[in-house]
C-alpha cells in the first residue's frame, strides 16, 4: 500500500516559486489499478514524479507499506519496487533495446525480453539490437519505455500517458498487458491517461486539477457523467470536463 499524506510540492520556476501540488492525500491499495485523469498542467505527472522521488516533496509524507520513503532518492525508491514510465522517455545513443531491458530486469533475471517486446507490440528481432537513438519514433520509444517497466517486478508501477503514440491495434494488447501485470505480480498500477479504454480498466479514477485531488470515483460514474455532458453539449468543441463540471468553450 502506498500512501500520500498532505503532500505539497513547490517548485522553483522561471517566474519564481510555484505551488504545484496542494495537500495531496491518497491511499493506493495493493493489486489495484488507478487511473489519474484531469486537465493538462493539473499536477498528474507531478504526483507520479513525487512518488518516484524525481521531485522531493516540499512537505508531507509518502509511505510505502508502512515505511516512510519521503526522504529517499530515486535510486532507493526504485530498489524498493517503485517504477515510472516517462511520458517523454529520453533517447540514448549507444544503448541498445536489449541493454535497457536487461538493466531494467536486473542482472540475475531470467526474464524473456523477447516476450516483453511482444507484449508492447514490437517484434523482438527488429528491435533487440537497435540503439534507442534518434532513429526511434515517439511510438517506438514509448513501447520500449513500457517494456522497461514490465521487465521489473514492481510494487508500484506508474505510467505517464502510456497510450500516446500507440496505434489502436496495439492498444488492445496494451490494456491486456496492464491487466496481466496487475494479476501476475500484485502490482499497484497508476496510469495517467485521458483514454476511455484505459479509464475502464481502473478500479478507481482519480481526478486531478489545480494541483489537488478533485474527485475519486469509479470509471462507470466518471464516464457516465462525461457522456451526459457530451449529449447536453451541442458545440462539439472538445470541451474539457473536470470532475463532473464542464469547462465549456461554448455558450451552451
Amino acid at each position: 500500500m502506498l500512501q500520500l499524506k498532505n503532500v505539497n510540492l513547490i517548485l522553483e520556476g522561471e517566474q519564481g516559486k510555484k505551488q504545484i501540488l496542494k495537500d495531496i492525500n491518497l491511499t493506493l491499495e495493493d493489486k489495484r489499478i488507478y487511473v489519474m485523469t484531469g486537465p493538462n498542467g493539473g499536477g498528474k505527472s507531478s504526483i507520479a514524479k513525487t512518488i518516484m522521488g524525481i521531485y522531493p516533496p516540499t512537505s508531507g509524507q509518502i509511505i510505502l507499506n508502512g515505511e516512510d520513503i519521503s526522504a529517499l532518492g530515486v535510486t532507493e525508491r526504485a530498489r524498493l519496487g517503485i517504477g515510472y514510465a516517462f511520458q517523454q522517455p529520453p533517447r540514448f545513443k549507444g544503448i541498445k533495446v536489449k541493454d535497457m531491458l536487461k538493466l531494467a530486469a536486473g542482472e540475475d533475471s531470467n526474464l524473456n525480453i523477447c516476450d516483453l517486446l511482444y507484449d508492447v507490440g514490437l517484434c523482438s528481432q527488429d528491435y533487440l539490437e537497435r540503439e534507442i537513438d534518434a532513429s526511434f519514433s515517439g511510438g517506438e520509444l514509448k513501447r520500449v519505455e513500457i517494456a522497461s517497466i514490465l521487465a521489473r517486478k514492481l510494487k508500484v508501477a506508474l505510467f505517464d500517458e502510456p497510450e500516446a503514440g500507440i496505434d489502436l491495434w496495439s492498444f488492445q494488447s496494451l490494456t491486456e498487458t496492464f491487466e496481466n501485470l496487475n494479476r501476475k505480480y500484485n502490482t499497484t498500477i497508476v496510469i495517467i491517461s485521458h483514454q476511455e479504454r484505459i479509464l475502464r480498466l481502473a478500479h478507481q479514477v482519480i481526478v486531478i486539477a489545480d494541483g489537488m485531488v478533485k474527485e475519486i470515483t469509479t470509471p462507470h460514474k466518471f464516464l457516465g457523467e462525461i457522456e451526459k455532458m457530451e449529449s447536453d453539449c451541442l458545440c462539439k468543441n472538445n470541451c474539457t470536463f473536470i470532475g463532473g463540471k464542464i469547462d465549456a468553450q461554448c455558450d451552451r
Binding site: 518516484m52 524525481i54 532518492g73 530515486v74 535510486t75 526504485a78 530498489r79 517504477g83 515510472y84 516517462f86 517523454q88 522517455p89 529520453p90 540514448f92 545513443k93 549507444g94 544503448i95 541498445k96 541493454d99 538493466l103 531494467a104 536486473g106 540503439e131 522497461s148 521489473r152
Partner: protein, 305 residues
C-alpha cells in the same frame, strides 16, 4: 620474451591474450621482438628507415595481421609502416600502441601507416591506443594514417583511444577512387589534463565513392579535444560525417567541420553535436535502480561502445 605488463598491454590494444594466429609483428621499445608471416602475408623490415612493409598477396581471404607496439620505458619511437593490400583480398589488420610509463621521461610513439588497398580489396583496420603507468612521464601518441582505396575497394577503420594517453595528434588522410567505400568509427575518451586532436581528411575522387565518419568522444576533467573532420567531393559521390561529443567537468571540445564539393553531384553531410549527459537520461536509469554514478558510467560505456 613477453612479461606480465607486456601481456596486459597487448590485451588492451590488440585483444591479444596469447601469441596471435596468422601474421604478426610485435614491436617493443623501438625493436621488433617477434614476427610471424604466412604463405599469403609477408612482413619485411624496411631498409631505409625504421618500420615494416606488410604485403598481402592478391586474393588472400579471411586472414589477419597483428602489429602491436609496446613502450615500457621513456623514449621516442618513430615508425613507418607500409601496407600493400592485394587485389581482391579480404583481411583484418590490428594495430595499436600501448604505453606503460613508470618513469619520469616522456614515452612517445609516432607511427606513420600507409595503406594501398588495391582493386576490389577489403580491409578492416582496428587501432587501439592505451596508456598506463604510475610515473609522471608523459605518454604521447601521434599516429598518421594515409590510405589510398582503389576502384571498388573497401576500408573500415576503427580507431579507439580510451585511456591514459596524455597527448595525441591523430592525422588521417584517405583518398577514394571509383566505387570505393570508407567507414571510419572513432572513439575517444580524455580525462584530467589530456589533449587530443583528430584531423581526418577524406577525398572522394572517384564516381560512386562513398564515405562515412562516425566520431564519438567523451571529454572529462580539464581535457581538451579538437576535431577537424574534412570531406571533399570531386565526383558524383556521397559523404557523411557525424561527430558527437559528451562534455563533462571543465573540459573543452571543438568540432570544426568542413565539407567541400567540387562537383554538382557530390552529396556531403556534416552533423556535429556537443553536449552534456541529459539529466533525463540519468533519471531514467536511476528509476531502474542505478545510482547516479552507475547511470553516468552506463551512458558513457554505451556511447563509446
Amino acid at each position: 620474451m613477453l612479461n606480465v605488463i607486456d601481456k596486459k598491454i597487448l590485451a588492451a590494444v590488440a585483444d591479444l591474450h596469447e601469441i596471435p594466429q596468422g601474421a604478426f609483428n610485435i614491436r617493443k621499445n623501438g625493436q621488433g621482438i617477434i614476427r610471424n608471416t604466412t604463405a599469403n602475408i609477408d612482413i619485411v623490415t624496411k631498409k631505409d628507415k625504421p618500420g615494416i612493409d606488410i604485403i598481402v598477396k592478391p586474393g588472400t581471404k579471411k586472414e589477419s595481421v597483428h602489429i602491436p607496439v609496446i613502450l615500457s620505458q621513456g623514449m621516442n619511437d618513430m615508425v613507418y609502416n607500409t601496407f600493400e593490400i592485394g587485389e581482391g583480398s579480404d583481411v583484418l589488420v590490428v594495430a595499436g600502441c600501448g604505453i606503460h610509463n613508470s618513469g619520469s621521461h616522456t614515452a612517445q610513439h609516432d607511427g606513420i601507416h600507409e595503406f594501398y588497398i588495391r582493386k576490389g580489396a577489403r580491409m578492416k583496420y582496428v587501432e587501439k591506443h592505451y596508456g598506463e603507468g604510475e610515473g609522471n612521464g608523459q605518454r604521447v601518441l601521434n599516429p598518421k594514417t594515409i590510405i589510398e582505396i582503389e576502384e571498388g575497394g573497401w576500408a573500415e577503420l576503427e580507431m579507439i583511444q580510451i585511456k591514459g594517453v596524455d597527448r595525441t595528434i591523430r592525422d588521417t588522410e584517405v583518398r577514394l577512387h571509383k566505387n570505393a567505400r570508407l567507414i571510419v568509427t572513432e572513439r575517444l575518451l580524455t580525462t584530467e589534463g589530456q589533449n587530443a586532436e583528430s584531423n581526418i581528411t577524406v577525398e572522394l575522387k572517384g564516381d560512386g565513392s562513398t564515405a562515412q565518419i562516425l566520431s564519438r568522444s567523451v571529454a572529462q576533467g580539464d581535457s581538451v579535444q579538437v576535431f577537424h573532420l574534412n570531406m571533399r567531393g570531386y565526383a558524383p559521390c556521397r559523404g557523411h560525417i557525424q561527430c558527437d561529443s559528451i562534455i563533462m567537468d571543465k573540459a573543452k571540445v571543438s568540432s570544426i567541420p568542413e565539407i567541400t564539393a567540387y562537383h554538382s553531384e557530390a552529396q556531403l553531410v556534416h552533423e556535429a553535436a556537443i553536449g552534456r549527459i541529459a539529466s533525463e537520461q540519468l533519471t531514467k536509469l536511476m528509476t531502474l535502480g542505478l545510482t547516479e554514478k552507475e547511470a553516468e558510467e552506463k551512458i558513457l560505456q554505451g556511447f563509446l561502445a
